[in-house]
């Protein structure tokens, strides 16, 4: 059955829609036909491998690279996975604040596929590296551009998921970042107060 699914090539539509029509991507995910849950984790895995290769290209290579490319990417993949699950949980919570129905499983799939543009960092940055044309500058610039593209895919999918406006979807998408940011600032302030109290007292 899995083989017939692969041969049908319908799985490619997930990737195509992620790039060209994020709303159609969500509709595919919502129909659950073909099933995309497991396939969606191929994207963060690919992003982990590409990230490691790209970082190695721009850094000083040592034989540690072989460890990174054989085992290290698994750790990086787990970090992306953890980040996605936490972000999806917080976005789901934000959706419920707005009165929408919670659907964390679909959010995880959508967030995974929304990472797909980030794999293009390698070929794009590599061109500038080969020709030594401000490679680091363009690496950062392209990374930022691809991150924005990923965010737009996720926001459009959330908008389609809840039939919500783009603005509200953006708030849902940004909620985890805002929450974690505020938490970190508060933690920093508390630590600072604690530190000052310790040294004064």
């Amino acid at each position: 059955m899995i083989l017939s699914e692969i041969r049908s090539m319908r799985w490619t539509d997930f990737f195509m829609h992620a790039l060209l029509d994020p709303r159609a991507l969500y509709r595919m995910v919502g129909r659950n036909e073909p099933r995309g849950f497991l396939l969606s984790f191929a994207v963060p895995a690919a992003v982990a491998v590409v990230d490691i290769i790209t970082h190695s290209l721009f850094g000083r290579e040592t034989s540690f690279f072989y460890y990174k490319i054989t085992y290290g990417w698994i750790l990086w993949f787990l970090l992306i996975f953890f980040r996605t699950v936490v972000a999806a949980a917080l976005m789901d919570m934000a959706s419920q604040f707005f009165g929408y129905k919670g659907n964390i499983r679909e959010l995880v799939i959508v967030l995974n596929f929304s990472l797909f543009p980030e794999v293009f960092i390698l070929p794009l940055a590599y061109i500038f590296k080969i020709f030594r044309f401000a490679p680091l500058f363009f690496y950062i610039l392209i990374s930022m551009g691809l991150t924005v593209w990923s965010a737009l895919i996720a926001i459009q999918c959330i908008s389609e998921m809840h039939s919500a406006s783009i603005g509200r979807s953006a708030v849902i998408f940004l909620f985890p970042i805002l929450l974690i940011g505020v938490t970190l600032i508060l933690a920093f302030i508390l630590l600072a107060i604690l530190g000052v109290g310790y040294f004064v007292g």
Partner: protein, 315 residues
């Protein structure tokens, strides 16, 4: 299969291909740097020794080439300018592996090195397999010359070569129509014998270039021209003999040259070494450029400039 799906499969295949190329690039880069035999000890920050390499025939190749990568004397001068303008560079080791080359290109490198020497940047020449004729000319601009025992050096002299194909063409029944504005316009032509007047003219150029060679070597070595003239008859010699004739200052390896440069600049023994770095892909493009370059095409087609007067060892 749907066209869009085919397109996506192609994109995914390209992504995989770029990842494989990148992994190979990184791997080659690591192996390329390892066996160089140059110990780059310590962190690559702070004052250190810069390396410039003169390898192969010295020619003035100023254009960017097919892939925009500069090579030849101009790229060596560019590298020297980079080192000159870098405040971290306190000494320069010039690694030479060259049988020499064209007069003008060699003189440009010599003058550039001389400029660095006048700015009190200690220069150490490290001679590899061959540093003869123009290769030695460039080395003589350095404060200190170090060669391996078996380095082939010397060959102080000038040469101009031109094949005489007259008899062969006569056998083949081929003649050449030449319409010229002056009697010397086709001097060094391969299609006829050289006249005594032409030989005299070329000899004047050779003698003039030779005198300049001798004068510059004497200046660089802090010797009199008369001291060098007896051995400046085009003879080649190994490192040991060159030391005997004071053409070099010491026998030693490339690493010894680095140590000497550190010592002359008053740097610590583990001061960093700033070598030229080219990625394997750049090397590949450079090789392709060499194969596809205009110079090679001209040579293959027999259009190479025959007026080449060279400081070059021609065994």
């Amino acid at each position: 299969m749907d066209r869009n799906r085919k397109l996506l499969i192609s994109i995914l295949a390209l992504l995989v291909l770029s990842a494989v190329i990148a992994i190979v690039d990184i791997s080659i880069n690591m192996q390329y740097k390892k066996p160089s035999g140059i110990s780059i000890s310590g962190p690559r920050i702070g004052p250190g020794v810069g390396i410039v390499r003169i390898e192969g025939a010295i020619e003035m190749v100023s254009s960017g080439g097919t892939f925009g990568i500069r090579q030849g004397a101009e790229s060596i001068i560019d590298r020297l300018s980079d080192l000159e303008g870098n405040s971290s560079i306190r000494a320069v080791v010039v690694r030479i592996n060259s049988p020499g080359g064209t007069v003008a290109a060699t003189q440009e490198i010599y003058q550039k090195l001389w400029r660095l020497r006048k700015k009190n940047i200690p220069l150490v020449a490290s001679l590899g397999d061959v540093a003869a004729s123009g290769g030695y000319y460039a080395a003589s601009a350095c404060n200190y010359i170090m060669a391996d025992f078996g380095t082939i050096t010397g060959s102080i002299g000038v040469i101009a070569l031109s094949p005489n194909l007259k008899k062969l063409l006569e056998k083949l029944g081929i003649g050449m129509n030449v319409i010229k504005s002056g009697k010397y316009k086709d001097i060094l032509s391969s299609f006829r014998d050289m006249t005594p007047a032409e030989r005299e003219l070329i000899q004047q150029i050779i003698d003039s270039s030779y005198r300049k060679f001798l004068k510059d070597v004497a200046l660089g070595r802090n010797q009199n021209e008369s001291d060098i003239a007896p051995i400046a008859d085009g003879r080649v010699m190994n490192g040991e003999t060159a030391l005997k004739y004071k053409l070099i200052d010491g026998l030693g390896t490339f690493e010894d040259a680095l140590d000497k440069a550190r010592q002359m600049a008053g740097l610590s023994p583990d001061a960093p070494v700033y070598d030229e770095s080219k990625s394997p892909l750049q090397e590949l493009l450079l090789n392709l450029q060499g194969m596809l370059g205009a110079g090679s095409l001209y040579r293959a087609a027999g259009y190479e400039n025959s007026y080449r007067v060279e400081y070059r060892w021609e065994p």
